[in-house]
């Protein structure tokens, strides 16, 4: 058992940190204030290869592993949670299912542009009546000759209006399962600009405000038959498998947000004086910091463990990483919420102002307990595995 990072990963971290400090951090406040998608940053990330980290070179990616990708999301999220989730949703929720379930033609067609960041990816599963309960889906796809016809809508879609390629789930029929009729769900690749594919309202959010969260609307939207992703009826499995991977990205985002708040708090308590002493010299501050740092470290180990377990899956196509991912996301998200809340408290009144950024981190942290499976869902996944 070895907890030291390899030379490759150390160098990659240096790269991500430098990039985050120079290119992302200066824009973080503005992205939050204006709620604008950081297009320019995404272009820079594309140039530096950040949009295709775990994609094999044969599909134009960087040919690195999930651990490297998780470290990228972590470092970006230390300074800007929005930027972190843009990379996470693009990579885990769009590139990964195409890579895992796509036909060779689909991979050749979509991955090179996605991996190079020329195109951005998104994922549409959630609907007004179907969040945690994927069976509540209403969006339908009907085969009409050589085309699938989509009708319905998806909500809370990260990278919503900015993406070019969408992995969309829809009902393709009813099947009998254990004597009951259940919805048969299938996955599709839908391109922006397809007639009948439009955008609804943009969500006004508490945190990660620059991530372009939109409603996607499909009205007699016709897509080629060839855009069915994976087998018909396997949509639910594809969605669950994809979210297992996505949770590693979100866990890394949560980890970064917590670590970022911790770093800022350490710097602040050394400087801020009360009663003639730096507040860092008070034992309460010291103990709070100790708890924050310990939890952040634990979260990092769990995220890296989940990432390396998925790397093992990439090699053998059988290792399960579902529980590791659920635990990492559950713990990192709750850590992020706790650490950022304490960070605001330790900053006092300044912490409540926008200037000090820890309040933004606290707002950003909250979503990590909710999306890509709430903390409750993670507990269900973990406990189901314990009691099976």
């Amino acid at each position: 058992m070895d907890f030291t990072l390899s030379k490759k990963h150390e160098m990659a971290r240096t790269l991500f940190r430098e990039f985050a400090e120079k290119e992302v951090k200066p824009l973080a406040i503005e992205v939050d204030e204006t709620e604008e998608f950081p297009r320019v940053t995404v272009e820079k990330m594309a140039k530096a290869g950040f949009m295709g980290i775990p994609i094999p070179k044969e599909y134009g990616g960087q040919g690195c592993d999930i651990l490297t990708y998780a470290m990228c999301v972590e470092e970006l999220s230390k300074v800007c949670g929005t930027t972190g989730v843009i990379v996470s949703a693009h990579t885990s929720l769009c590139c990964d299912p195409i890579l895992t379930f796509g036909t060779e033609e689909q991979k050749q067609k979509y991955l090179p542009d996605l991996a190079a960041g020329r195109k951005i990816g998104a994922f549409g599963l959630t609907e007004p009546g179907a969040g945690t309960d994927a069976q509540g889906q209403q969006t339908k796809a009907v085969l009409d000759g050589e085309e699938w016809v989509l009708n319905g809508s998806k909500i809370f879609i990260t990278n919503g209006k900015e993406a070019d390629v969408y992995v969309i789930f829809a009902i393709t029929g009813m099947v009998e399962k254990r004597g009951r009729m259940t919805k048969e769900i299938s996955a599709f690749i839908v391109e922006k600009g397809t007639p009948g594919f439009t955008f609804g309202t943009k969500e006004k959010k508490m945190g990660i405000r620059g991530s372009s969260t939109y409603e996607l609307i499909f009205t007699d939207c016709r897509i080629p038959k060839a855009n069915l992703l994976g087998q018909q009826g396997k949509g639910f499995n594809i969605a669950m498998h994809t979210l297992d991977g996505g949770r590693i990205g979100i866990a890394a985002q949560a980890l970064g947000i917590g670590e970022g708040a911790l770093e800022r708090t350490i710097a602040y308590v050394k400087e801020r004086k009360q009663f003639g002493k730096a507040i860092g010299s008070f034992q309460n501050t010291q103990f709070q910091l100790a708890d924050m740092a310990t939890k952040a470290q634990a979260a990092q180990f769990m995220v890296y463990k989940a990432a390396t377990t998925k790397d093992q899956y990439t090699k053998d196509h059988k290792t399960s990483y579902s529980v590791e991912a659920a635990m990492a996301k559950l713990y990192a998200a709750e850590m992020a919420m706790e650490v950022t809340t304490k960070a605001v408290q330790l900053h006092g009144g300044y912490g409540y102002t926008r200037e000090y950024e820890v309040e933004r981190m606290m707002r950003d942290a909250k979503i990590t307990e909710i999306y890509e499976g709430t903390s409750e869902v993670q507990r269900m996944v973990i406990s189901a595995n314990l009691l099976k």
Binding site: A48, G61, C64
Partner: protein, 260 residues
């Protein structure tokens, strides 16, 4: 086209200068980086590679750990890395350093050699021009723009109040300013490849046409008589008041010091 870029691993003096409790520079605590001017030189070479097609070889002289800076350069896009390291090369001044690098470069084919103008640790700006002298090729220092024209290179050479547009036949040596460009980032895939790549390591025996008397500490005409950490002017007064009080304070001080 073949381009050789000379790079150096230096302590990061920007922002993160650390001092020991006794006030001396704590070099061990400082991060090392690729010298900024050298990085601009590398970026210039990589842009020429993108534009005209070229093989870019990076070379550094230093301790074995200087290998890191070669891998960084390769992660940015350089094709080959050469580390020149040998105990007998230690303690070199710019004469001995330039002799060493020239001796190493004589093994290589090159059309262009690019170095940074100066390193942020030594700040001498001498090694580039001295290498060119040893190799008998023209030097263009302080390049702010580089283009290729057939078998020649056209360079904007910066001076204090002007620039010259110079044309030189290749092979030629150019020294680059950090202002020349904004160097690209490494890519994650580039890092993975660079870590797997073979770095060529050369020692004294690989240097061509260089005498022992021109190498290392013994071959250095300049010698250090004394080195000390700089004693800084002490901190003066510092106030943190509202605008009116701040302005009154400055005006008062300007009067006291007979400026107005």
């Amino acid at each position: 086209m073949k381009i050789v870029v000379c790079i150096k691993q230096v302590p990061d003096t920007k922002g993160g200068v650390k001092f020991n409790p006794d006030g001396t520079l704590d070099r061990a605590a400082m991060m090392t980086i690729m010298n900024p001017d050298d990085k601009a030189g590398l970026e210039a070479a990589l842009r020429l590679k993108d534009q005209y097609g070229a093989e870019v070889t990076v070379i550094t002289m230093g301790l074995p750990k200087a290998e890191d800076v070669l891998r960084e350069a390769m992660a940015m896009g350089a094709d080959k890395g050469i580390l020149v390291t040998d105990r007998v090369l230690g303690g070199a001044d710019t004469w001995a350093t330039s002799q060493t690098l020239a001796g190493a470069i004589r093994n290589l084919e090159y059309d262009l050699i690019i170095t940074g103008r100066q390193a942020i640790d030594g700040d001498t700006a001498q090694v580039g021009p001295q290498i060119s002298e040893h190799l008998g090729i023209p030097v263009i220092s302080y390049a702010q723009k580089i283009e290729i024209d057939g078998d020649s290179v056209i360079v904007e050479r910066q001076y204090d109040d002007r620039y010259h547009v110079l044309k030189a036949k290749m092979p030629c040596l150019i020294t680059a300013l950090a202002e020349l460009n904004a160097p690209r980032y490494m890519t994650p895939g580039g890092i993975f490849d660079a870590c797997d790549a073979e770095i060529t390591v050369w020692g004294r025996a690989n240097l061509v046409d260089v005498e022992d008397s021109n190498l290392g500490l013994k071959g250095s005409p300049t010698q250090i008589a004394k080195a000390s950490d700089k004693v800084r002017k002490g901190q003066g007064e510092k106030i943190n008041k509202d605008v009116t009080e701040s302005v009154d304070y400055i005006v008062d001080k300007l009067k006291v010091r007979h400026v107005i």
